[in-house]
């Protein structure tokens, strides 16, 4: 087993604006192994897109401050190289070649004046020394690969002549043009109808199995990552607040924000009278971030000291590979989630958190820890 394909280490991205410094990404770390799928989940402004654009050097600019490392192992023999410090031209040769990206709105992401064939061809020609004829053949092959019927004819059409789903297929074809090792899909299905969403996700899944690339899916929609991700990282205010295998996140979520995301998904099997529970409040300002735990102004279980102490991402006791940044005790979190999962409201579960605070001062925590170790 080789090392990770990409390893993000303490990535920080901030932008100087007229209103102040926007801390878009604030100490992000994760790894993606070859051929696996990571889902990054979070709401608008959680830094999920910025972190991925930074991977490709697309956030570079006079206003941007970027630190940390993104170690990418394009070639196992050369070893990993840092994309953050890489010069522009070298990074350009990785973009669209080793790492490719697809975007949310496939209509605005395609150039309106050029035929899709030409837009596919130039992706090939930018990285490979092949004839135009060969590039065109490749373009037709790619359109077929992503399930566009009649690619011989469609190759000479303009983006506006395609439907939304077909356009996203074109974007995927473009991303696959040079057989990337990593595909970043930024909200790949958000602009599409639900039925088309499922088709696109199935397509991505199938292509991954055939081509063996790793995928990072960025979305606000847990349902999307549930379908295709092996691991999920939940981001809030530029940081990962919870990170675990997909089944773990759905079975035993640890962070109150993740609970909120899960409870705001409508489910077919829930009772008709059960209401969805929205996450109260608004996404935090990335200029004046909340003190302590960044989620505290919206957290139903907030305690006084959570407003001061900034939680670190730590392994959940007894659950290796499951990390969470939350100041609540592990057993309290487990009990709250059990209550929420059985249909109780956050308001009803709130007193449990206060109990945890008191028990935290008393010699109770060793008990909870030993419990964690034994399991």
């Amino acid at each position: 087993m080789s090392g990770p394909l990409i390893s993000v280490e303490d990535l920080r991205v901030s932008f100087d604006t007229d209103d102040g410094v926007v801390h878009a990404v604030d100490g992000l770390s994760y790894k993606v192994t070859p051929g696996s799928t990571l889902g990054i989940v979070g709401e608008s402004g959680s830094g999920k897109s910025v972190s991925s654009l930074t991977m490709l050097g697309l956030t570079r600019g006079p206003q941007a401050k970027i630190s940390g490392k993104i170690m990418f192992a394009a070639d196992p023999e050369r070893g990993p190289e840092d994309l953050v410090s890489m010069d522009d031209d070298k990074l350009r040769r990785i973009r669209g070649n080793d790492i490719a990206m697809i975007f949310q709105d496939p209509l605005s992401a395609l150039h309106p004046f050029y035929k899709v064939g030409m837009q596919l061809m130039e992706t090939v020609l930018a990285h490979r020394n092949v004839s135009k004829r060969a590039a065109r053949e490749r373009a037709i092959e790619l359109l077929g690969l992503v399930g566009i019927p009649d690619p011989q004819r469609r190759v000479d059409q303009y983006p506006h002549e395609f439907s939304g789903g077909m356009r996203q297929r074109v974007m995927i074809a473009m991303a696959l043009a040079n057989e990337p090792k990593l595909l970043i899909a930024d909200e790949p299905t958000t602009a599409l109808d639900v039925t088309v969403q499922a088709q696109i996700l199935a397509l991505l899944d199938g292509l991954q199995q055939r081509l063996g690339m790793a995928i990072v899916v960025i979305t606000h929609d847990l349902a999307v990552v549930a379908e295709i991700a092996d691991e999920i990282a939940v981001m809030y205010a530029g940081r990962i607040v919870e990170h675990a295998g997909t089944t773990k996140v759905f079975a035993s979520p640890q962070h109150p924000y993740t609970w909120g995301l899960l409870q705001s998904i409508p489910r077919l099997d829930s009772p008709r009278e059960e209401e969805l529970v929205p996450i109260a409040g608004r996404p935090p300002s990335l200029i004046n971030r909340p003190t302590g735990c960044h989620f505290h102004p919206r957290c139903p279980y907030v305690q006084e000291d959570h407003k001061r102490i900034d939680p670190r991402l730590e392994t959940v006791p007894g659950d290796p590979g499951h990390e969470v940044a939350c100041l609540l005790e592990a057993d309290v979190r487990a009990r709250i989630w059990d209550g929420l999962a059985s249909g109780q409201s956050p308001g009803e579960m709130r007193p449990l958190a206060a109990v945890s605070k008191r028990s935290g001062a008393a010699p109770a925590p060793p008990h909870s820890r030993s419990e964690g170790h034994s399991s």
């Binding site: 040769r93 669209g96 605005s108 309106p112 004046f113 130039e122 930018a126 506006h160």
Partner: protein, 320 residues
């Protein structure tokens, strides 16, 4: 597409007929200086003036006069005869048009060569010293009235009158066929007058468009594909940003071909614009109408041309 073009051309003809009628109304029905009196000169007898009125056909009712005028266009295609030179208006325009063409086309080439690169560089180096300097320069040139800027250039650079005496001044224009070198020299200052103001407008327009376009999603896609920066900027960015500029260009070109009145006047270039204002001063109605109609034709043709060109420049545009 064909149906669209036919419809546009028919409407264009309607527009031109309306222009003919309005010009006729303005100069012949509403009060103006009496052409017969002007033509007769100072101290002419009333009989002489009456005779001239008779000769010019000014005694007919204005409807009859309009019909005679339309006949001139439709059947003789000569736009009537000048009261002063007795030559057909068509041949008057034929004499004047080459000068206007030389002035306009040279200026257009010059302002494109200046305005487009400045616009692109300013957008790409937004906020830099270069951008600020260029945009302050552009604002300066946009703000200068042509008549004033023309006189300033003459004051500094014209050989006959200027302080530095570098370029030929007013009245030095000769036809290209007569003497290409003199033709070129005489047009340098007029070209500059027209081109610098327009270049300023075009550079600002292109800069703004390009800044908008470079923020588009498809530019991000082009970068994400790993295209070389030059290709991203020119093939993807400038290609989109320049399309609206071409529209403005065609309409400006149409308007200028109708006569760059002020520039021609200042530099005494006997083009269509100068022909037009001289005729207005003389109440030489047929010439006024002829030059006005010509200008209208250029504007209408330019507009139709732009709309047709747009279908080729932007594949999303389809006419039915």
């Amino acid at each position: 597409m064909a149906a669209y073009i036919i419809r546009r051309v028919l409407w264009g003809i309607v527009t031109i007929v309306a222009v003919i009628f309005l010009t006729f109304l303005l100069f012949r029905v509403f009060p103006t200086a009496d052409p017969a009196t002007l033509l007769a000169g100072k101290g002419a007898t009333t009989q002489r003036i009456a005779m001239i009125r008779q000769e010019l056909g000014l005694n007919h009712s204005w409807l009859v006069q309009f019909w005679i005028y339309l006949k001139g266009i439709l059947f003789h295609f000569n736009l009537g005869y000048s009261y002063y030179t007795q030559r057909s208006v068509l041949s008057e325009i034929g004499t004047a048009l080459p000068a206007t063409l030389s002035l306009t086309i040279g200026a257009v080439v010059l302002w494109i060569l200046i305005g487009i690169p400045i616009g692109i560089l300013s957008a790409l180096k937004r906020g830099s010293i270069w951008d600020r300097t260029a945009m302050i320069g552009a604002l300066t040139f946009v703000s200068m009235p042509t008549f004033w800027f023309g006189l300033i250039l003459i004051y500094f650079f014209a050989q006959s009158l200027g302080l530095l005496q570098i370029f030929p001044g007013p009245g030095s224009y000769v036809g290209f066929t007569a003497d290409p070198v003199k033709w070129f020299g005489a047009l340098i200052l007029p070209w500059l007058v027209l081109a610098l103001t327009q270049a300023a407008i075009y550079s600002r327009l292109l800069r703004g468009n390009l800044l908008d376009v470079m923020g588009e999603d498809y530019i991000r896609t082009a970068r994400a594909k790993g295209l070389p920066n030059r290709r991203v900027v020119y093939k993807h960015g400038v290609r989109s940003a320049i399309t609206p500029v071409l529209t403005v260009l065609a309409i400006d070109l149409g308007a200028l071909l109708g006569g760059a009145v002020i520039t021609e006047r200042i530099f005494e270039i006997h083009g269509v614009g100068l022909l037009n204002i001289t005729a207005i001063g003389n109440s030489d109605f047929p010439v006024v109408q002829g030059t006005t109609v010509l200008a209208a034709v250029f504007v209408v043709v330019a507009n139709i041309g732009v709309d047709i060109a747009y279908a080729y420049l932007d594949p999303r545009v389809r006419y039915t």
